[in-house]
Amino acid sequence: MTLALREMRRRPGRFAIATVILTLIAILLMFLGGLLDGLVASSTGAFRSQQADLLVYSTSSRNSLERSRITPEVRQQVETVPGVARVGGLGSVQLGGRVPGRGPRDLVPTVLFGYELASRGLPAMPPAMGTVYADDSLRASNVTIGTTIHLGPARSAVTVAGFVSDTRYSGQGTLWGSLDTWRQVLNANRPDARVGPGVVQALVVRSGPGGTTGLPARIGQATGGAATALTIAQAIDALPGVAQQRSVFNQIIGVTVVIAVVVVALFFALLTVERTALYGVLKAIGSSSRTLFAGVVLQAVIVALIASLIGIVASLVLDALIPPGTIPFVATPVRLAASAVILVVAAVIGCTFSLRRVLRIDPAAAIGGTP
C-alpha cells in the first residue's frame, strides 16, 4: 500500500493522462446526469410538489393533463369512493406572459394552474380571483411580488402575491391561482380548449387512513371507466417525454461507464505489464499477490477520486455559468455523489482485469531465474 502511494507521489506524471481521461469521463457522466435531472425537474415540478396520493384523468385523455376533462358528475362519483378523503380540481393552460419592463415581443412562457388542494408552498385557500403565486424561476424574468402579468392574446391580468419553489412544468415557470382564475383565463385565451362550469382537467385525490391500495381500481369502477387514477409517480412518468428521456440518458450513461471500465482496464493492464519484473522482485522478497493487487486497486481508486473531484468542481462551475433558460443542466449533490461512486466502482472493476496478470507472475522467472 505504502509503495503504491509512494509511486503516485514520486511519479505523478505516470498517472496524469489516465487522470485527465477519467476526469473527462467524470465530467461527461455528471453532465449527462445533470442534463437528465434538469430536464426532468423542469418538466415535473408541478406534480412532484402535489401533497396528494393520486391524480385522476379522464380515460380518453391517455393521461394527458391538457387533453383531460373531468365533469362535475365524474367528480361526484370519485368523491363517494370509499378510501377517498379529499378531492380537489386541477387545471392548466400554457400562455405567454407580458411582464412590465420587457419588450412587446419579449414574452415569458408560463403555465397557469388552477387548484383547490394546495401543493407544497401554496396557501391552503387558493388566492382571490386574479391573484396568483409564481414559481421562483420566474424571478429571472423580472417577476416580483406585486407584478401584474398579462397572459395570452386576451391579455388576462394576474397579479403575483408570492412565490413557490420547484414547481416548473413542461420546462416553463408556473403560476398558481384559483380554479375560477384558471377557467376565466383559459376560456378567454383558448376558445378551442375552453371548459364548461365545474369542469376541470384533473382531480387531485388525498386518500384516507387505508392508503391507496386498491383505490385507483375503485375509482375506475365508480366512474364506469370514464376516469383513470394514477399515483403521483405514475403521473410523472406519463408526462410527455419523461420516461423516454430517462431511458435514453441512462443508456448513454451506462455505455459511458463501460468506457470508463475499459479505459481503467487498459491503463492498469499496461502499467502492470511494465511492472512485471518489479512485481517479481517484490514477490521474491515476500510480498503476496493480494498486497500487490491491493496497491493497484488503491491507485485506481485514487485516480478515480481525483477525477471525480475535478468533475464535481467542473459541474458546479458549469451549473453556475449556464444562463437560465438555455441548457437545462442542474448539478445536484445526489447526482454528483452517485456519479463519483459509479466512477470509483468502474475503476475498481477496470483494474481487476490486471489481477490475473499479477497472480501469474512467477518470482523466479521475473528476476531471471529458472522456474
Binding site: 453532465f31 392574446p153 376558445p191 468506457i259 441548457i327
Partner: protein, 375 residues
C-alpha cells in the same frame, strides 16, 4: 508495416481492448448524433415538410405551433398585408386516436385550409386529401389505407371523426408524435369531438404565400411591421426557432466535444505508454540501422489500424440500431455524419499519437551501447 502488424498480432489483448474502447466511443457518438437528428426532425419535421413558405404565429405563441392562437382581428390584418397573394388557416393539436382496430394512442393533427399552403409539399406515397375525412400521415407511423378514429369526449359526435390515410410523407412529425395532415373541416370536427365545450376553433398560425417579386423574408418583415401581435417566420426560421431545438443542439454539442476529446486522449495515452515500454527495443532497432522514419511510420500504421478498427466496430454496432424504430423516434444512418466523424476521429487520433512519435524521433542509438535506452 511488418513490425507494426506483428506487434499487434502478438499483443492482441491490449490492442483489442483499445480498439473495443474506441469502437464503443464511436458507437456512442454516432448514436447520439442520430438521436439528435431524429429528435429535431421529430420536433419540427412537419414544419419543414409543410408547403407554406411563411408561417405567421401570434407573439403569444412563443413560436410553438400548438401554443399560438390567431384571433379574427389578427387574421384580417395578416390577410390585408401588401404582398400576400394567398393566406390559409393552419391548426395543430394532439388527440387520442385509435388506428384501425389497435389500442388507443396519441396523434398530432395539422389542419390546413388550402391545398399547397400548409399541407405536406412532397409525398413519399399516395396522394393528397380530397375530402375532409382523408389525411396524409407521417410515413414512419402510418400506412396507406389506415383508418384513424379520433376518440371523442362525447358531445355532438360521440364516436369521433374517422380519417383515412391516403398519402404518406417522410420526416413529418411534430412534437415527436405520429402526425396527420387533414383538411381544415376535418380538423375542426376533431377539435369539437375531443372537446365538446369548444366554442370556436381558431387557427394556430396563418400560412401565407408571397406575391411574385416579394421574397419570403421581406413578406415576413412586412407582416411583423403590420401588427405587434404577429410573429411571421419563413419555413426554415419557424423550424429552427421552435422552442427546444436550440437547447437540444447546445446540449448535444457539449456532449460531442467531450466524447471527441476522450477518443484522442485514450489513443494518445495508449501509444505513449507502449512507446515507453518498448524504449529499449526501439533504441536497439535504431542502433542496428532502423531509421527513425520507419519506426514512426510503424507507430502511425498502428494508430490508423486501431482507429479504423474502432470506427468499423462502432459502425457495426450502430447499424442495427438504425434498422429499428425507437418509440416515435427515427434513428437514421446518415452517411455524411458517419464520414465526417470517421475523418475527424482519425485525424484527432493520429494527432494524439504525435507525442509518442516525438519520443520515437528523440531516441539516440548511442544509448544502446551504454545500456540505456530510456526515453
Amino acid at each position: 508495416m511488418f513490425l507494426a502488424l506483428h506487434e499487434m498480432g502478438r499483443a492482441r489483448g491490449r490492442f483489442g481492448l483499445l480498439i473495443g474502447a474506441v469502437g464503443l466511443l464511436v458507437f456512442l457518438i454516432l448514436t447520439q448524433q442520430a438521436i439528435q437528428n431524429g429528435l429535431i426532425t421529430g420536433f419540427v419535421g412537419a414544419i419543414r415538410q409543410q408547403s407554406a413558405p411563411v408561417l405567421v404565429y401570434s407573439v403569444d405563441g412563443q413560436r410553438t405551433l400548438q401554443g399560438s392562437v390567431i384571433n379574427p382581428g389578427l387574421e384580417a390584418t395578416i390577410r390585408a398585408v401588401a404582398g400576400v397573394t394567398q393566406a390559409g388557416r393552419v391548426g395543430q393539436d394532439t388527440f387520442t386516436v385509435r388506428v384501425d382496430s389497435g389500442a388507443e394512442s396519441d396523434a398530432a393533427l395539422i389542419g390546413f385550409e388550402h391545398p399547397g399552403l400548409g399541407d405536406p409539399g412532397h409525398l413519399s406515397a399516395g396522394r393528397s386529401p380530397q375530402s375532409p375525412t382523408e389525411a396524409v400521415g407521417s410515413a414512419s407511423d402510418f400506412t396507406l389505407g389506415s383508418r384513424v378514429r379520433v376518440v371523442s369526449s362525447g358531445g355532438a359526435d360521440p364516436t369521433g371523426p374517422v380519417f383515412t390515410v391516403v398519402g404518406l410523407v417522410k420526416d413529418a412529425q411534430i412534437q415527436v408524435t405520429p402526425t396527420l395532415f387533414v383538411p381544415w373541416a376535418g380538423y375542426e370536427a376533431a377539435v369539437r369531438a375531443a372537446n365538446p365545450d369548444a366554442t370556436t376553433v381558431l387557427p394556430n398560425v396563418i400560412a401565407v404565400r408571397p406575391a411574385s417579386g416579394v421574397s419570403d423574408a421581406a413578406l415576413a418583415q412586412r407582416i411583423n411591421a403590420a401588427s405587434p401581435d404577429a410573429d411571421a417566420l419563413t419555413r426554415a426560421q419557424a423550424a429552427r426557432d421552435t422552442p427546444g431545438v436550440a437547447q437540444v443542439q447546445q446540449s448535444f454539442t457539449l456532449i460531442f466535444v467531450l466524447f471527441g476529446l476522450v477518443v484522442p486522449l485514450v489513443t494518445g495515452l495508449f501509444f505513449l505508454i507502449i512507446t515507453f515500454q518498448k524504449a529499449a527495443a526501439l533504441t536497439l532497432l535504431r542502433a542496428i540501422g532502423a531509421r527513425s522514419g520507419t519506426l514512426v511510420r510503424s507507430l502511425l500504421i498502428q494508430v490508423v489500424l486501431v482507429i479504423v478498427g474502432g470506427i468499423a466496430i462502432g459502425i457495426a454496432l450502430f447499424v442495427p440500431l438504425t434498422l429499428v424504430q425507437l418509440g416515435s423516434l427515427t434513428v437514421r444512418f446518415d452517411p455524411v455524419a458517419v464520414l465526417v466523424w470517421s475523418g475527424l476521429l482519425l485525424a484527432l487520433g493520429v494527432a494524439s499519437a504525435m507525442v509518442a512519435a516525438r519520443r520515437v524521433l528523440a531516441i539516440d542509438p548511442l544509448e544502446a551501447t551504454t545500456g540505456g535506452g530510456g526515453l
